[in-house]
Amino acid sequence: MSADFGIISIGAYIPRRRLQRAAIHAANGWFAPNLRGLARGEKAIVNWDEDAVTMAVDAARDCLAGQSKEDVIALSLASTTLPFVDRLNSGIVKEALNLSENMQAFDLTGSQRAGTSALMQALGSNATQLCLAADNRKARAGSEGEMLQGDAAAAVLVGEGEPIATLRGSHSMTIDFVDHFRSTGEDYDYAWEKRWVRDEGFQNVLGGAVAQAIEKIGVKAADIDHVLIALPGKSLPPKFVKSLGFNPESVADTLFSNLGYSGTAHPFVMLAAALERAKPNETILLASFGQGADVMVFETTKAVTQKRDTGGFEKGLANKSADENYLRYLFHRGQLDLEKGMRAEYDEKQPGTALSRDRKTVLGLIGGKCRETGVVQFPKTDISVAQNHRATRTQDDYPLSDKLAKITTFTADRLTYSPDPPTYYGMIDFEGGGRMISEFSDVTEEDVSVGRDMRMVFRIKARDDMRKFTKYFWKATPVREATKSEAK
C-alpha cells in the first residue's frame, strides 16, 4: 500500500436534539428505578424526519466538503437501522450526493462492526471509497438501551492523495458471540446478562482481538496516543484498559455524556473526534465489537492539522438543542400512538415511475440553469420560467443542495399534519438564483424571519404508512454559527 493512500477526509453528523436522560428517568423511574445511575447527561436523537439514510447524507456532505466528488467510485453504507431491506439504501445516498452513476454502492448490516469492516475492506483496496455508517436504534421504553443509545452518523473517505491518516495494520476476529440480537422485522434488541457480556464479550473477545492486533501490527499499547474502543456505557471497564496496558489518559471518552452509543456509526464518530484533535505522527487504535471484533491502527500525517476545516464532530456537538420532551421522543420513534387526526390520513402513495423520472429533482435537488440567459430555476422544465426570454430546452443540470438561501416568506402552520407541529415553511431564494417553497427543519419560532440565512438538508418528506415507503426530499434549516462552513 502506498504512503499516499489512506483516510483522505472524515465527517460526522450529530442530530440537533439532545434528549436529557433525567427526563427519561423522570418518566420511567417508577418502573425502572435501577437505571437511576444512567440518568445523567444527554443523548443525540433524530428528528421525526431523519433516519439512517438522511444522517448518512449529512455526514457524507461534511466529509466531502472541499473534496472532489468525481473521484469517488465506491460508496458503502453500514447500519443496523436501514429504512429499506430491499432497496439499495446507499443508492438513495448516492442520488442525494449527486455522485456519478458509474459507481459501486453497497449496504452493510448485521452487526455493530459493519462500518469498520467496510472501512477495513476499503483500506485494503485501491479505490476511492466513501464509507458511511449511521444508526438510530430503537430501544424499549424503560430499557437500559434507551439510556445508552444515541443517534449519529459519520463518513470516512478513503483514497489516494494527501491522507490525514494511513493504516498501519488491522486485525479481525469473528465469533458468533450473541451478547444481544435483533431478528429480522423486529424493532427491539434482546440482550443477555451484562456481567457475562462484560467478562466474556468485552474482556475476552474484544480484548483478545485487540491484544492480537497489537502484537500482529507491532505497536506498543502504551505508545498508542488515541485508544478508541467503541462500546456502550459511561466508560470502558477499568480492567479492560489495565489488562491491555493502555495509558489511561490515551483512552478516548465513550461519548456517553453528550451523545450516546451510536451503533455502527460509533467507531467512525469516535475516529472523527480523534482526528479532529490529533497531532501529526500520532497513533490511533480503533476497535469495534459485534460477533467478534475489528481492530485498526492508524498513523496520522501532517495533513491532519492542515485539513481541519470541516470539523463535523465538534461543530455537530456544539449545534444542539436540549430536549426534555420524552413523550415526543417516543412518538417520533413510533413508540407512542397519538391521535393524529384526519389530516394524517392523506395517501402518500409514491408512483415509482414519477420518482424514477424525477429522481435528480427530488433526491438530488437539481434544478436547471438556462445556457442562454443564465436564469436558474427549480424544478428544471422544458420552457424557461424567464418572463422576457422564452428559451426552450436550454437548461443544464444545476445542483442547488450546497447553495445558501434566504427566507422570503414564512409561516408556522398548526392546521396541517406534522409529527412535530407547527410545520414551518416558506419561500426561499438561493444565492446565485433559483427559488422554491420549502419546509423548514430543526427550527423554532426564533429561527424564522424574512432574510434569514438557510441551508439545505436531505430529510424525510413523508412516510406512506400503508405501503411502508419512505419519501425523501430537501428542506431548509437555519445556518447556525457552528455550521456555517458546511454550505459553500
Partner: protein, 400 residues
C-alpha cells in the same frame, strides 16, 4: 386587446342556497335550492335553457367528474352540461362558460351553477388533496391558511408594518365582515365579533388566528344569463350586464422565477388591469361601487385591495383601519359577509359573490342594501396559493 365581453350578456336571474353546515342536504338538493330561486327570478321554463356549466372545486369529492349530477338534480332537458374546476375560482369559471356561450351566440340562455358539499369530507378546514404527482414529491405539506399566511410575513417586511399593526388591521377585516354577515339570512356565521376576540383567537398558521380564516360550509349558487335583447323581450326592465370577466393563471413565475416578493398576488393585478380595460374603467378607486373579494383569509382581502388598485401599495392596512371598506365606507367590501361568514363551498363562492352584486345593483339586498346606489360591482376569486394560482375578476353593472 380583444373586443371583450362588455354589455353583451345580461343576468336574467340568480339564486343562492342558504350556506352553512347543511347536514340534511346533499349537493343535488343544494343545487335545487339555488336553481328554484333563479328560475323564479328569470321567469323562464327549464326547457328554455340551451346549455349549462357546473363549477365544483374538488374533483370527485362527492359528485364525480362530470356534468351529469347537475343534469339529474335539476332534470335539465338533455342539454350540454360541462363540469369545470379551477380551484377556488371554479364558480366564476362556471359563470364564464355560460357567459361566453351566450356572447358567442351558440346559446340564447345558459345556466352557470356552482356547488360544493364540503361538510361531507369530515375536515374542519379544506380537505387534504393532491396537487399533482410532482408537487407531492417536492411541494410543502402545507394547508390553505399556511400558504396564505406567508403573505403577511412578506407584507410586513416589504412595507415595514409591525406584526401588531398588521394583525389589528386583519382583525378589522374580519370584524367588519361579521358585522355584515350578521344581517344576511343566507350567511353561515351570523355572530358579531370584536377586535380583541379576533386578535386573541387560537393560532392556525402564524399570524392567522381562527377569526382570520373563513368558514367551511356547504352551499350552491347559480346564474341564468342571456343577451340584453332576449332579456328585454322576456320583460326585464332593469338589466344587470356583465361589464368584464377576466381570468389570470400563474405560469410559474412567482414560484420559480425571480422578482415576486410574496406580498401580493401577481395574477390578481393582471386580471384587474384587463378587467378594467374591458369595462372601460380608468379610475377604479372612484368608479367601483363595492367589491366582493376572495377573503379566504383576512390577509388575502387586505392585500387584494392593493391588487385591485383601490388602495395604494403599502396603504391597504391603513385604509382598512380607516373604515374605507366597511359597509358605510367609501368602497364596501363583503357587504354580504364574504367568505368569512358564508364559508367557502369552493364551486359556489364565485357565483355567491355575483349574486350579492346583482342584488345590490337591483336594490334587492334588504337590510344590507347600500344606500348610495351602486353602479359597478366587482367580484374576485383567488384559487390556489399566493405563489401559484388562478385569479378571476368579474364586474357587473346596470345598463346605462
Amino acid at each position: 386587446m380583444a373586443r371583450g365581453i362588455k354589455d353583451k350578456v345580461a343576468i336574467l336571474g340568480m339564486g343562492c342556497a342558504r350556506f352553512g353546515e347543511r347536514w340534511d342536504k346533499d349537493a343535488a338538493s343544494l343545487m335545487v335550492e339555488a336553481f328554484e330561486e333563479a328560475l323564479e327570478d328569470a321567469q323562464i321554463d327549464v326547457s328554455e335553457l340551451d346549455a349549462a356549466w357546473l363549477g365544483v372545486g374538488f374533483d370527485g369529492q362527492n359528485i364525480g367528474p362530470s356534468g351529469i349530477p347537475a343534469s339529474i338534480a335539476l332534470r335539465l332537458p338533455n342539454i350540454g352540461v360541462t363540469k369545470v374546476e379551477n380551484y377556488c375560482a371554479s364558480g366564476t369559471e362556471s359563470f364564464r362558460g355560460a357567459v361566453y356561450a351566450v356572447a358567442s351566440g351558440a346559446a340564447d340562455i345558459a345556466l352557470a351553477m356552482g356547488v360544493e358539499k364540503l361538510k361531507d369530507t369530515g375536515y374542519g378546514g379544506l380537505p387534504v388533496r393532491t396537487r399533482g404527482t410532482q408537487w407531492d414529491m417536492i411541494g410543502t405539506n402545507g394547508s390553505a391558511p399556511g400558504n396564505f399566511a406567508q403573505l403577511a410575513s412578506a407584507y410586513r417586511a416589504k412595507h415595514g408594518v409591525s406584526p401588531d399593526d398588521l394583525k389589528r388591521a386583519m382583525a378589522h377585516v374580519s370584524v367588519k365582515s361579521h358585522a355584515n354577515g350578521a344581517k344576511n339570512p343566507k350567511a353561515h356565521l351570523r355572530k358579531l365579533i370584536d377586535i380583541e376576540t379576533a386578535m386573541k383567537a387560537p393560532m392556525i398558521a402564524e399570524p392567522l388566528g381562527l377569526f382570520d380564516c373563513c368558514g367551511v360550509s356547504d352551499g350552491a349558487a347559480c346564474a341564468i344569463v342571456t343577451t340584453p335583447e332576449i332579456a328585454k323581450a322576456l320583460g326585464k326592465i332593469d338589466l344587470v350586464l356583465v361589464k368584464a370577466l377576466q381570468l389570470a393563471t400563474s405560469n410559474g413565475w412567482e414560484m420559480q422565477g425571480a422578482g415576486w416578493d410574496g406580498s401580493y398576488m401577481h395574477t390578481t393585478r393582471m386580471a384587474a388591469k384587463r378587467a378594467y380595460a374591458e369595462a372601460g374603467i380608468t379610475d377604479p378607486e372612484n368608479e367601483i361601487s363595492l367589491t366582493e373579494v376572495h377573503d379566504c383569509f383576512s390577509i388575502t382581502e387586505l392585500v387584494t385591495m392593493e391588487d385591485l388598485f383601490i388602495s395604494k401599495d403599502g396603504q391597504a392596512w391603513k385604509d382598512v383601519l380607516d373604515g374605507k371598506f366597511d359597509a358605510d365606507g367609501k368602497i364596501p367590501c363583503q357587504i354580504d359577509g364574504g367568505l368569512k361568514c358564508f364559508g367557502h363551498p369552493i364551486g359556489a363562492s364565485g357565483l355567491r359573490m355575483i349574486y350579492e352584486n346583482y342584488l345590490q345593483l337591483l336594490g334587492r339586498a334588504g337590510d344590507r342594501q347600500r344606500k348610495d346606489p351602486p353602479n359597478l360591482c366587482l367580484s374576485h376569486n383567488l384559487g390556489g396559493m399566493p405563489f401559484q394560482n388562478v385569479s378571476s375578476v368579474a364586474i357587473v353593472g346596470l345598463e346605462k
